[in-house]
């Protein structure tokens, strides 16, 4: 009886379905392709994942608060342009450029938040506009050309994305940062007062406001957090691949939102899970990596992503309905 109810509780967690999917996926790929679990492939998998993952962590909290941000990919592309352009033109040192790039992200987040909360424009429209403005600016200031990055040598670069080896695995420092951010934000969401406010703001903003929750402040802060994480991820990426391309990050917004909802966070707000999000990130990254290894053309990737989204949404809605029927 106790065991049964324990199992039932585990199974009804929103993270359970995605977790099973991830296990199945890893099992299937490693059976089909021995190269899948090789150190080289895992290193490969863990190189880019933290970068997309950082954006996804911010997006999880933002979506739990009932908003989302389509401008993350543009900020991902533009922030490194700001940093490297300032550096290459000798306007600022790399460190100062780094800080200015993050400040720029704060302004983007503040603007998104202000339009959404004060002017009460849906975040879809606001951040769609911001996506175009920021991307357009990146293309305009660079004439569409990548910025040079290989002339720099700063300890900052090692702190952000320095490479080191554990056994046969090559790991970037960005993975450690991602794990740290995930732990802190997971803690914030479930264990802190801020997390209570985030869920309340997304669940029923009017009722939350009536209890003295600062809904506007909470949402604006999360828009800023998401933008800053996107900028930081973009800078990380530019250092790792030694290129600051004004087009980079294009289309990330949808992949990030897909990862968040696959993990079990509600698109409508009020419920969110960082653990689920981490699983969601791994599901899509593993999928992209694995289908190429087992010989499916990479171009087919989106079919799988779409299928997974639909399947997971069906699962979450079924769990939700069963949950309500049971009471």
């Amino acid at each position: 009886m106790a065991i049964k109810s324990f199992v039932q509780r585990v199974v009804s967690q929103p993270e359970f379905g995605p977790f099973v999917l991830l296990v199945v996926e890893i099992a299937a790929f490693s059976l089909r392709s021995p190269a899948f679990l090789s150190a080289g492939n895992i290193s490969n998998l863990l190189a880019f994942t933290p970068e997309l993952g950082m954006i996804t962590l911010g997006m999880t909290l933002l979506m739990t608060a009932g908003e989302f941000d389509l401008s993350v990919g543009s900020v991902f592309g533009f922030a490194p342009i700001v940093m490297w352009t300032l550096y290459n033109t000798h306007v600022a040192s790399l460190e100062v450029g780094f800080v200015i790039a993050l400040l720029f992200a704060v302004i983007v987040g503040l603007a998104n938040g202000w339009f959404v909360t004060y002017l009460k424009i849906p975040s879809f429209l606001v951040t769609l506009g911001m996506l175009l403005v920021v991307r357009g600016t990146a293309l305009y200031v660079t004439d569409g050309f990548p910025q040079r990055t290989w002339t720099a040598d700063s300890p900052l670069m090692n702190i952000v994305v320095g490479e080191f080896a554990i056994g046969g695995l090559y790991i970037y420092a960005s993975l450690l940062w991602f794990i740290l951010f995930a732990i802190i934000l997971g803690y914030v969401l479930t264990e802190s007062k801020a997390g209570n406010w985030i869920q309340a703001a997304g669940g029923n903003p009017e009722a939350a406001r009536a209890r003295g929750v600062r809904v506007t402040y909470t949402k604006v802060a999360l828009f800023i957090l998401t933008a800053v994480l996107s900028a930081y991820a973009g800078i990380t990426s530019s250092i790792r691949v030694s290129a600051a391309n004004p087009n980079s990050g294009t289309g990330y917004e949808l992949e990030v939102i897909a990862m968040v909802v696959i993990g079990g966070t509600a698109l409508s707000g009020g419920r969110g899970t960082i653990i689920g999000t981490v699983v969601g990130i791994l599901i899509l990254r593993t999928m992209r990596n694995g289908i190429v290894l087992i010989g499916v053309p990479g171009l087919a990737y989106n079919i799988f992503v779409g299928g997974i989204i639909l399947a997971m949404m069906a699962l979450h809605s079924w769990l939700e309905r069963r949950h309500h029927a049971g009471t």
Partner: protein
Amino acid sequence: MPEELVRMDRINKFFGRVQALNDVTLSVNRNEIVGLLGDNGAGKSTLIKILSGALRAESGEIYVRGNQVKIRNTTDAMALGIETIYQDSALISQLSIARNLFLGREPLRAPRFLDRLDHDTMNEVARKLLKQVGIKKEIPPTTPISALSGGERQAVAIARAMHFESELIILDEPTNNLGVEETQGVLRFVRGARDSGHSCILIAHNIYHVFQVVDRIIVLRRGKTVADDIDPKQTTIEAVESIITGMPIS
């Protein structure tokens, strides 16, 4: 002479060109249960929203314990010990019972890293409160509100008002959509509130319910106070109905 807890004085409120409240005065004494009656659109909700900080009046004064106060938002009202319970909207259905109870006034514990919640206290107090408001079923405090019945939700809202020692509890149509049993539970709570040292304003369309529990009835009609000292023991339901509608008893 009973001690006056809250007094709203000559309150005026417009929505565009519609005057929802016209020089309305309302007072509530300590340990007093006041029924606020009136037809649809009479201005009852508007009046208590001004008192609970959800709306602001164009003119008029509010006194609490004899001191003039400014109530700019719901936080101000709660700080003055005024708590409002609506039928829906007041709870967040995705959050657990315990999280709802303490929303906006979360207890924290050490180490306070990033304002860490004190889940143990929250759950323990929630469990105790649920018993107090008469939920006999064993409902874990971590249950989301969406899994509760209408009456249980109402009980949670009431529990919240009780726990934070509000001196004045306002209930705007608290028995809407409730079953017989649950309605009786709410009315029992209102009666009990007086004994535990609270005052109440009860808004309800069912005059029978109001008659059962209140000490005094105030009637609004089209934004004006038309009666403010009806003793339910000295009058009939028909007489009050005629005051509400403004039509003589047929």
